[in-house]
């Protein structure tokens, strides 16, 4: 690999993809290096999918600024990038006097941060807003919302790609060298040369900082587990229901509807040393059932369809362990770098505001020429299940592949699977298909469609069965043929 880039972005999560998209507005040769086989494999795809209001973060902090800014613009962003989003509001519920004091404190903080419309509501109003919510009273945040975090990450990346950004998957950065104004970014497979490096490495942002010569950042992994509930339970919930935050603004287990109609119960929070450990545990699932039931009445086993875990990359004070603000900086000791460290919740809401700040840091050091061909609009693949009957009829007429349902739980058609297999980013694991179409995400968890999808990957990509991957590198699904 001898290509030379103007900018290399490390990490293709929501923040890396947003930075790529915002930098594509300028005449720059941009590459994104991702250690996994696709975008959204880290915490960008492992969260509650909430567009936050911005009332828990310290006034004046980067978290507060970016969150409020990101919240305000998201209707336009969702339209531009064709991302499923609903500004459904959110309630933070309380049970006792201590909770009420907490809610009032965060209402005042929210108002200082510029989060509009926050109000304390009584039980009657709470029950009107969400009849299944627990709690005696609540703070209502009308501007909070829910979005599909994976679809958002994919949309940002696809829009970046459409505007000329190159994505490189399965490239784990192992070292960075700086000589004569050029960075050589070494991965486990290649070397990439670039004038600028942007660190969007999430959990590994501290490691990449060190490689850039910026020491001292400590990232601690706060792991949280989730239960995904069937859409049957989704009928009972209107908006996210959170418990009153603790003194540091941290939330315990909540109940959140997804834009697709499921419900997420979680996350709890515990520290993990292993940043690759996305496993779930019996102990924590039991805890989620107990705590989640206080928020939402229908945490029943018959509705369980899946579990997952995320790890929030919190920057902490090495001495006290206190959780610190986002870092978005360009430091002299590492010229031509933008360093984004400790981006955790509200990272999804803040992705574009952070990306604009990263661009501004770069623009302060060199002149950026606008890219006259930049197009901010991206269209998602048409989702059959969301269409009206007449639209469905029309789609099938145009493309008979829309008339073949491959995933029967989520009503995903052959046409959508084909589009996902041939997606612009070139990612093609079973999980890539799942994340783009929702196939295998329903209650049968791929029992019906997974074998159809693997067969289609095999045919469309001319792959041997042993080359089909489930999600990560080496996650082969088959050991060979049964018969030659």
């Amino acid at each position: 690999m001898t290509q030379q880039f103007d900018v290399l972005i490390i990490g293709a999560g929501a923040v890396g993809s947003a930075v790529a998209r915002e930098m594509a507005r300028y005449q720059l040769k941009i590459g994104v290096l991702e250690k996994e086989m696709d975008v959204a494999c880290g915490n960008s795809g492992r969260n509650s999918g909430v567009l936050h209001g911005g009332f828990t973060y310290k006034t004046g902090s980067l978290k507060a600024q970016c969150c409020v800014e990101g919240n305000r613009e998201f209707d336009r962003v969702a339209r531009e990038l064709d991302v499923p989003f609903r500004r459904c509001g959110k309630v933070v519920v309380g049970f006792n006097e201590k909770d009420m004091a907490s809610l009032k404190r965060f209402q005042a903080r929210g108002e200082a941060n510029g989060a509009a419309g926050l109000e304390i509501i009584d039980k009657k109003r709470l029950q009107e807003l969400d009849p299944s919510a627990g709690g005696e009273f609540a703070m209502y945040s009308p501007n909070s919302g829910i979005l599909d975090p994976i679809a958002y990450n994919i949309a940002l990346a696809e829009n970046a790609k459409a505007n000329g950004v190159d994505f490189f998957f399965d490239q784990c950065v192992t070292a960075i060298e700086h000589t004569d104004g050029i960075y050589a970014v070494k991965t486990d497979r290649d070397v990439f040369k670039t004038r600028w490096v942007v660190n969007c490495a999430g959990l590994y942002s501290g490691v990449i900082s060190n490689m850039l010569g910026i020491g001292g950042y400590v990232i601690r992994g706060f792991k949280g587990e989730y239960i995904v509930l069937d859409k049957k339970a989704g009928a009972f919930i209107n908006m996210p229901v959170y418990p009153a935050p603790n003194e540091n603004g941290g939330f315990a287990t909540h109940a959140v509807p997804t834009v697709d109609g499921n419900v997420l119960i979680g996350p709890d929070s515990y520290i993990t040393e292993d940043f690759e450990d996305f496993g779930v545990t019996s102990k924590h699932i039991e805890g989620l059932i107990e705590d989640g039931s206080k928020m939402f009445r229908y945490v029943k086993r018959e509705y369980f369809i899946r579990n997952f875990a995320g790890i929030r990359a919190k920057r902490v004070d090495p001495e006290t362990g206190e959780v610190l603000d986002f870092v978005c900086e360009a430091r002299d000791e590492a010229p031509n770098t933008v360093n984004l460290v400790g981006i955790e919740s509200p990272g999804l809401t803040s992705a574009l505001p952070l990306a604009r700040r990263a661009v501004a840091l770069m623009a302060a050091r060199e002149e950026l020429k606008p890219n006259p061909n930049f197009n901010p609009v991206r269209k998602a693949v048409c989702k059959f299940s969301r269409m009206s009957l007449a639209e469905k009829e029309e789609l099938i007429k145009k493309d008979p592949n829309y008339g073949e349902i491959v995933c029967r739980c989520e009503n995903v058609t052959r046409s959508e699977i084909l589009a996902a297999i041939h997606n612009p980013l070139g990612a093609c694991t079973v999980e890539s298909i799942k994340n783009r179409t929702r196939a295998t995400m329903g209650r049968c968890q791929g029992g019906y469609c997974e074998m159809r999808i693997t067969k289609m990957i095999e045919e469309e990509q001319q792959k041997k069965e042993t080359e089909i991957l489930y999600s990560r590198k080496n996650s082969y699904m088959f050991t060979g043929k049964v018969r030659k």
Binding site: G279, T281, I305, F308, Q445, G447, S471, K473, F478
Partner: protein, 413 residues
């Protein structure tokens, strides 16, 4: 979108749908249609290449495809209409059925709708097995379809969780294809599959069946590397200190089947929390007049032979319904004691012969099934052995029944 009128729409062309279609046709209901989502008829039997089907019905042992073919041949001979590659997406309570096909959206109005959608497998997520999420974890039916229909081998070193019939059949299948099946672990103190499968699929191949065991951890971030298994107590709680690690690249789950009733719910059909199938009367009719159910969509069977006869009995009633536009009311409930998981039907008239299906909660020896009304014993069946894995069927004659009192079913030792 042209709406077509049919006397009966049958949803699903597996064993239940095929048997229902043939029986309806023979009873004179010829304006019917089977809607099948696959490219060919046969349902799950297409992937069941092992033998043992048809022993009760045909007194021979057939493979799944052979068993299905007997019915498919009859459908073809009688020229019973069917469409394949069409997925029903909606049924309404007034019996409008909508399907998606490459030809467009198909819409039908029917006098009666027959639900024969079969069942799906319970998954890892449904039972919250802890651990990471590597590749190499398959439900038994999915592994079966990969191996038997797709020519894809799923792994080399296998552990099986759950002693369902398909899991045991896959233990044998994988062994025959050169994989090493280390053990089958079952959380319950008794197997959930049939004794003949334990004998023919596990014992014959030296595969141990470990009861009172479950998986407490899954390891590996890319491909499965191993599982931790532990013994459980009577409350199914893990006994600390009994954990043991097994290295394996494949985990097969055979942890239960769930009738596939998403379409039924949309039509307003009441489900039984115990069977997860519709609440039906002795005619196989649901609470929605003119919508009938039979086979694994109604209750999960252990033998396909019973699926076929259940579907035929239901079809007889559905044919009468189409002719008369109603059936006798079934106002009596079937009530059970604590030793019984469920019965089908759940409602009866007391005026008609019918077959009562039931399952016991735990293995019982030298027991008696007692069926009574108003304290008066109507029928008793003595059994040397009653197993949860084996469905019990008791034929009841109308002469013995009253049409005034609920039916009480009890099993005692």
């Amino acid at each position: 979108m042209a709406v077509q009128q049919r006397d009966v729409i049958i949803i699903g062309g597996g064993p239940a749908g095929l048997a229902a279609a043939v029986e309806l046709y023979k009873k004179g209901i010829k304006n019917l249609l089977i809607i099948e989502r696959e490219r060919s008829l046969g349902g799950i039997l297409r992937q069941c290449i092992h033998d043992g089907f048809g022993l009760t019905r045909f007194q021979q042992t057939l493979s799944g495809p052979e068993y299905a073919q007997r019915f498919i041949d009859e459908v073809e001979e009688l020229e019973i209409p069917y469409i394949t590659n069409a997925t029903v997406i909606d049924i309404t309570c007034n019996k409008t059925v909508r399907a998606v096909s490459p030809k467009g959206i198909l819409e039908y109005r029917a006098k009666a709708v027959v639900l024969t959608m079969g069942c799906r497998e319970r998954t890892r997520g449904a039972i919250s097995i802890p651990g990471t999420r590597p590749s190499g974890i398959y439900t038994a039916g999915v592994a079966q379809s990969y191996i038997n229909l797709n020519n894809k081998m799923v792994g080399k070193e296998v552990v099986i969780l759950g002693s369902g019939d398909i899991g045991m059949i896959m233990a044998r299948r994988l062994t025959l294809e050169g994989a090493k099946v280390k053990a089958v672990f079952e959380i319950q103190p008794y197997p959930s599959g049939l004794p003949r499968n334990i004998e023919q699929c596990l014992n014959d191949y030296g595969i141990p069946l470990c009861l009172n065991h479950t998986i407490t951890q899954i390891k590996g971030t890319s491909r499965l590397e191993g599982v931790t298994v532990a013994r459980v107590d009577e409350q199914r709680k893990v006994i600390p200190g009994t954990e043991k690690d097994y290295s394996c690249d494949t985990l097969i789950l055979s942890v239960g089947l769930i009738p596939e009733n998403e379409l039924s719910l949309a039509a307003g059909i009441d489900l039984d929390g115990r069977t997860k199938g519709a609440v039906v009367d002795e005619n196989g009719q649901t609470n929605v007049k003119g919508i009938f159910a039979a086979g694994n969509v109604l209750q999960v069977h252990d033998l396909v032979d019973f699926v076929s006869t259940e579907a035929e009995r239901m079809a007889d009633a559905a044919a009468r319904y189409v002719s008369c536009n109603s059936l006798e009311a079934c106002g009596l409930n079937v009530r059970t004691d604590g030793n019984i998981v469920y019965t089908v039907p759940q409602k009866i008239s007391g005026k008609k012969d019918f077959v009562l299906s039931l399952r016991v909660k735990k293995p019982m020896r030298n027991c008696e099934i007692r069926i009574s009304q108003n304290g008066e014993v109507k029928k008793t069946v003595k059994m040397k052995k009653a197993l949860p894995a084996s469905m019990i069927q008791v034929p009841l004659r109308k002469e013995a029944l009253s049409d005034r009192a609920d039916l009480e079913v009890a099993v005692t030792c």
